[in-house]
Symmetry: none
Subunit: 119 residues, 2 copies
């Protein structure tokens, strides 16, 4: 019953999304987003923990089917990742599922081999 109205507050770890207040809190601090960034995050948060396809994201935010070759979603995913990482450097919030889509689920990044990554 909540799929049609994404106005419900979503809390996922240190991230809190309040669509009805046009507000996103990370560690209780407000995040400054553009309109598209905000809407994209709302869609992802509403389906937190589950994979959302690019087409679904594009339709929800841009209102039309995703055209082949359109990279808008990818670009905005990156913008969100950058802004989220500013406050949560040690977290991975948006996960990529190659060939499927993206999944929103903030969790601590485990650096299994931090030592040699910067070769």
């Amino acid at each position: 019953m909540e799929a049609s109205s994404p106005s419900q507050t979503v809390v996922a770890g240190p991230v809190e999304v309040r669509p009805d207040e046009l507000l996103v809190l990370v560690k209780d601090r407000p995040l400054t987003l553009s309109v598209q960034e905000f809407r994209l995050l709302c869609v992802l948060a509403a389906r937190a923990g589950r994979i959302v396809t690019r087409d679904e994201l594009y339709r929800s935010v841009w209102g039309s089917p995703l055209r082949p070759g359109d990279r808008s979603v990818d670009v905005y995913i990156r913008k969100l990742r950058v802004k989220l990482a500013e406050t949560l450097p040690d977290h991975t919030c948006i996960h990529t599922h190659v060939g499927f889509g993206y999944r929103f689920q903030p969790e601590r990044s485990h650096f299994l081999h931090t030592a040699d990554t910067a070769r």
Copy 2:
């Protein structure tokens, strides 16, 4: 529960809005506003700290939905900013959230390098 009747006194930093007395105090000194200016500030103050969309502001003050291209809200926001700045030159009271709306929250402007900017 008080959203419908914005007659409650609002105090935000050095600004005090008393809708029921048709009075605005800045640093305990009364501010001279026109009717529209006053109503706009009341709506903003009633939602202090939160973003209010242009459409919401227009509906509250002018009583009808905001027509595309109408800049009335912007113009009056400016008038308010000018008058507030007369008494509070070092404060930012009304914040712009591009694509979203405006947010009323008086706070000191932090000029990180005021020393060398003007000369």
